[in-house]
Each structure stands twice: as structure tokens, then as C-alpha cells.
Amino acid sequence: MECVAAGSIMVSDWHRSPDSREFFRRILHKKQRRKFGLLEAPVMPPHLKADVVRYKVFLSGKSGVGKTTLAARLGGLDMPNVHYETTGMETSVVFWPVKLRESGRTLFFHFQLWDCGENAMRRFDHMLPSCKEHVDAILFLFSFTDRGSFEDLANQISQIMEPSDRLVRLVVGTKFDLFMHTDVTERDITRFQEVWGVPVFRVGGDVSGGFGEIAPLLNALAENLWHQDCMQASTLVPSYPGQIGPEIIV
């Protein structure tokens, strides 16, 4: 799956523009990110209707690389201050409003992030298939403080993805704030991007829960997923029954 250039489909940095305020307000509560239960979704007034499109995103990476923290960061949750091994699979939900560049249509992306502890995945066979079931995108994580986790990326990508999988894949480097201890250089990253054609994002540091750090990643995810679905829709018969496309809730 080739990656689309940032800003080619959706308005980049939309969260900074005034017309997005009404939409972002729905995912905030008392200046913090609103926490949604499974039965909830942002409610918009009738004149600002925005469809919700749902996608399943799997976070993959070695133990301790920061999968749970990334999920918390993207969802605006409290960041765990101690590292705990995740004892199984956990999911969390991120709603993210975007504006399509051409039509000016606004959408709420509903990302369901799947995070699975590596030990549990090794001990129980049903975990990985369950994470991959109907998955739309995979984020491959490595940590800037652990060179091993970066070198393992290629291995991971080939292990988890089958050649026939048509999935969005992005790479995220975590703990970028700990640059004093960094084990992975800019050159490594550039080379990796050239060889694999996968963009690499950097997160870490921002604990304020603002949108600045997560917006590029969420926008890229949304853009690539949308692009993937458009491609699929144009090559397949639109009402193909087995297709797992975006489920639109009106």
C-alpha cells in the first residue's frame, strides 16, 4: 500500500483553524479529552452533521516499547507513569474530526486502537489472530532508546503482515523526548523510509494532552485509511458483500 502525501486528501492542521472548533469541542471535556464509552459518540448539532467512519488499528511492537502509552497519548488518557506489562489485549477509542480537501465534507474518524502485551501474545495463541481480525491499519512501534526495537522492525513487518494484506502501515518511534539516550539516528530513519516506503512518525515528550503532537500521526492515519478505501471502492464492485469498508453510522 503506497502512502499518500500529507495534506493531499485532508486539510492538514485543521485543528488550528477556527471552523474546526465546534468539532474539536465535542471530543473535549473541561479542557481534557473526553472519554467515550462503547455506547457513546460525539453528538453534533443537526446543521454540522459529520459521519463517523470506524477503523481498527493494531499497535505492534516489542515489550516495553510504549504501545500502551501511545494508545493513551492518542486518546488523551492519563499516561501511565510506571511501566506495566499489559496482561492481554486492550482496546481504546479515539475520535478524530477531519475535513476533506476537495468536497469540504467533515468526518469523524473512529479509531479503535488494539494493544496487546507481548508476553500474553507469546503465551496465548488466539491473541495475534484476534488483533488481526478485520484490521485496517497497523502501527509498528519502535523506541528511540532501544536500537534493538528499531532493528526488529523489518522482522516484525514481515512476520505480522502477509503479502496479500492490503493494510495501511505506519511506523512510530516512541520516547523521542529522551534524545540524550537515543540509539537511533536520523540517518537510520531516512534510510528506513526509503527502503520500506513507510513514513516514520516521532512521539514523546508532550504530556500536556494537546493536539500538536498527535495531529500529524492521526491525520496521516486518517488520510491513508480513507485513500485505501477509495482505492478499494474503485477497483471492487461497491456493494461487494465481503468487503469490510468503513461502516457509516448516521
Binding site: 455506547l39 506495566y84 496482561t87 489485549m89 486492550e90 496465548f124
Partner: protein, 428 residues
């Protein structure tokens, strides 16, 4: 005030004394002390004596316990407010956590110590949660008033009209190909299927704790071993955060997958009752008892236990009009825990199920019972912060804190009246 730092939990292999982990304290005990703690226990074993507990005159306390001749847990505390019961429960709960996450076989037959050490890390989150229970409650208000870890009774919330939620839960559980299902509201059991209630109380408490997802996590699928029911075969505990604080759980076999239940069943079953869920969340904000129940305005908080079903409800008293309020909620919960411990270790001792490693005839603590053949049914305690009273009937136990202004002679009638009001109104 208690601090989580005041209790430390150590785990070692029983035969060789290799330390496996240490939780609780910011400053772990030095290796030499851990070695001595293990050594003194081993010395006893060599002489056919089992060392279970020791106490210093300044209130420090150490408790040892060996599980399945394989692992030893040591609980150590330097704080006089940490009772022996508290430490004993902590060791039992910690062991049960370890079984829950890793299975009995892995723990009882240690093949590779280094591997076990690594795998035990998966238990830290649960163990730390237990260590923090009842201490430092201020920053985690969600956990306030949960007592199951100490009482080994399931923390419940009593809903005035549970039928609709009960039905919904049962159909949802069936749809998930299971017979074990429950609905948690702010960590308390609101409704559960009949089979769920048949699980051992210790299991129910741990399942409630592990299932109590933090807000923002929407679902989980954890492999769990039931310490009593299924110690060697893992089941899957799936939990779904329907609304922040309202969580539906099911225990399943290999099928169906989390994705399937979450996408096909959760909304279809639970959306129609979303208003009921919201009102039960509102209710627990005020009190886990019925909103219609009014009790004496001087009651600061109470804990009611049903001795047959091993269920409990704990509630703060009516909001006090006095300003400033005499005691913060966190302090009230803390005193309630201490009073519970005081009452069940000294007077209501039958609650303490005798077990092999710690015989019930602990002569040091039976000051009252010695020489008496009857069973105490009431007890009270006055402190400089509040007054405490406990009532025991064949079916119930009520532990109550009141304001200092209540005359001591009136405590008994306040307590019996409160017990009457709650049990007649709720049938608990």
C-alpha cells in the same frame, strides 16, 4: 495517614530463597534483610516450627506464607495501622493474583526461575492496585469505598430496579456463548448471572478489580485462571466499557472473539438500556444504596455485609450540613477499614475462617473470648475522630461510623435502626 509505601511485599522461591520480586516500597529492602527474613523462616522450618507472623513493639510487622511448597510471600510493614489481617489478606490476594494471571502450574512447579521472574511482571499492575487499596485513597476516588480485598465479600451496588439490566445481561452473556456475566458500576457489582455468583468470593473480588478498566479503555480480553475454579486452564475475561464507569464482563472459552462481541453484540444489547445505565452511575455517585433510603444524618459511613452470600455494600452517610465536614471521605473509609479489622479480629471472630496455616486459636488476640462461651453480637469503639459501632446478626454484619455528637448510649439504636431500614427496604 497510611501510605502505600508503608507496606512491602516480597516474593521468593520457597526452597532456594531466590528473590523474584518486591513491590510496594519506593525503597526496596536491602538484599541482606530479605535474606535474613527468608533465613529466619527457614530456620524455623528446619526445627519443625512454622513461623507465620512477628511484631515489634513499635508496630512493625512481618508475615510469611508459603504457597504450594513452591513460592514464599513475605509482607512487611513499618506502620502500626497496618493490621495482621490486612497483611494476611494482602498475601492471599497477591497469591491469587499470580494464579489468576499465570496459572497454578507455572507457580507450583517452577522450572526456570529467570523465566518465572519475567512472567511475574504481568502481575505487577494487579498487585500494585491491591497494595494501594485502602491507602492513599485520595488520588483515586474511583476506588474509594471498595472493601472486598479486606472483607473477602463482593462489593455491590443495590439497584432499585435491576430487572431490565439483569435480563439484558443474561441475553448478552448468552450471545457471547457464556454463562458467566456481570455488570460493574464504578467497580461494584450491580447485576450478575447466577453462575457468576457461584464463583468463589476471592475470585469475584479479583475479577472485579481486573475488569475495572480505567476510563478511556473501551474493552479488553484478558486470559485468566480462576484460583479455585480453573487454576490450570485459562479462560478469557472480556470486558466492555459501555459508559465511563459501567462495564459489562463475560468469562468465555476460545470463542467468540473480542472483535466479534464488541462490534456485533455490545451496541445491539446495551443501547436500549443506556438510560438505566446512566441512572445507576448517577446513583453510585451519591450512594450504592437505594436513593430512597434515608438514615440518620449523623452516620458518616457504613459497611453492610450479607454473611450468607458474601456480598457487601459500603456507603457514605448523607451529605453533612456542617461545615467544615468533620472528616474527609477518604479518612472515613480508612477508619471504617480499621474498625472492621478491629471488630472481626477481636469480637466477631467466627468470620475468620480457620485455616491450616494460621489456627483460629490465636491466643494473643482473644482477650475478650477467653473465659466466655457466648458470642458477641455488638461492639463499639470511641475515637477522638468519630464513634464506631458494629452489629452482628446470623445473616448480617453492619459496621457504622457516626459523628462524635451522637451520645454513646444512642449508638446501639442508631445502628439497629439503620440495619432494619436497609434490610427491609432492599431485601439485601
Amino acid at each position: 495517614m497510611l501510605h502505600s509505601q508503608s507496606v512491602q511485599l516480597l516474593c521468593l522461591t520457597a526452597s532456594s530463597g531466590v528473590p523474584l520480586f518486591s513491590r510496594g516500597s519506593a525503597k526496596p529492602l536491602p538484599f541482606s534483610i530479605i535474606g535474613s527474613l527468608n533465613g529466619v523462616h527457614m530456620f524455623g522450618m528446619g526445627h519443625d516450627a512454622s513461623l507465620s507472623c512477628c511484631e515489634t513493639d513499635r508496630g512493625g510487622r512481618v508475615l510469611w506464607r508459603v504457597f504450594h511448597d513452591s513460592l514464599m510471600l513475605i509482607g512487611a510493614s513499618s506502620n502500626a495501622e497496618v493490621s495482621e489481617l490486612h497483611l494476611r489478606r494482602l498475601l492471599e490476594n497477591a497469591w491469587n493474583c499470580m494464579v489468576l494471571v499465570l496459572g497454578l502450574d507455572e507457580l507450583a512447579n517452577v522450572r526456570n526461575v529467570e523465566r518465572l521472574k519475567r512472567e511475574l511482571r504481568s502481575c505487577y499492575r494487579l498487585i500494585d492496585m491491591l497494595l494501594e487499596r485502602g491507602v492513599d485513597d485520595l488520588d483515586c476516588d474511583g476506588d474509594q469505598g471498595l472493601m472486598g480485598d479486606l472483607t473477602h465479600c463482593t462489593d455491590c451496588i443495590l439497584l432499585p430496579q435491576p430487572d431490565l439490566l439483569q435480563e439484558t445481561l443474561e441475553s448478552f452473556t448468552r450471545a457471547a456463548e457464556s454463562e458467566f456475566g456481570c455488570l460493574l458500576v464504578r467497580g461494584r457489582l450491580a447485576v450478575a448471572t447466577e453462575k457468576w455468583w457461584r464463583l468463589a468470593p476471592q475470585e469475584l473480588i479479583l475479577l472485579s478489580a481486573i475488569a475495572n478498566l480505567p476510563p478511556g479503555k473501551t474493552s479488553c480480553d484478558y486470559p485468566v485462571f480462576l484460583p479455585q475454579g480453573s487454576p490450570n486452564v485459562a479462560l478469557r475475561l472480556m470486558c466492555f466499557q459501555l459508559l465511563p464507569g459501567a462495564i459489562a464482563c463475560v468469562l468465555c472459552g476460545p470463542k467468540p472473539s473480542l472483535h466479534q462481541v464488541e462490534n456485533e453484540q455490545v451496541c445491539c444489547f446495551w443501547s436500549p438500556v443506556v438510560d438505566n445505565l446512566r441512572s445507576s452511575l448517577d446513583q453510585v455517585e451519591r450512594s450504592p444504596l437505594y436513593p430512597s433510603i434515608t438514615f440518620n444524618r449523623d452516620v458518616l459511613c457504613l459497611l453492610l455485609i450479607n454473611r450468607d452470600s458474601r456480598k457487601s455494600v459500603a456507603s457514605l452517610g448523607p451529605t453533612c450540613s456542617k461545615s467544615p465536614p468533620p472528616l474527609s471521605p477518604a479518612r472515613r473509609w480508612e477508619i471504617l477499614r480499621l474498625f472492621y479489622t478491629f471488630a472481626v479480629t477481636r469480637y466477631f471472630t467466627s468470620e475468620e475462617t480457620p485455616n491450616s496455616w494460621c489456627p483460629p486459636s490465636d491466643p494473643l488476640h482473644e482477650e475478650f473470648s477467653s473465659g466466655f462461651t457466648h458470642l458477641p453480637v455488638h461492639c463499639y469503639l470511641l475515637t477522638d475522630e468519630c464513634k464506631c459501632y458494629a452489629v452482628q446478626t446470623p445473616q448480617h454484619q453492619l459496621f457504622l461510623l457516626t459523628d462524635l455528637s451522637v451520645p454513646t448510649f444512642a449508638l446501639r439504636s442508631v445502628a439497629t435502626h439503620t440495619l432494619d431500614v436497609i434490610t427491609t427496604a432492599t431485601g439485601f
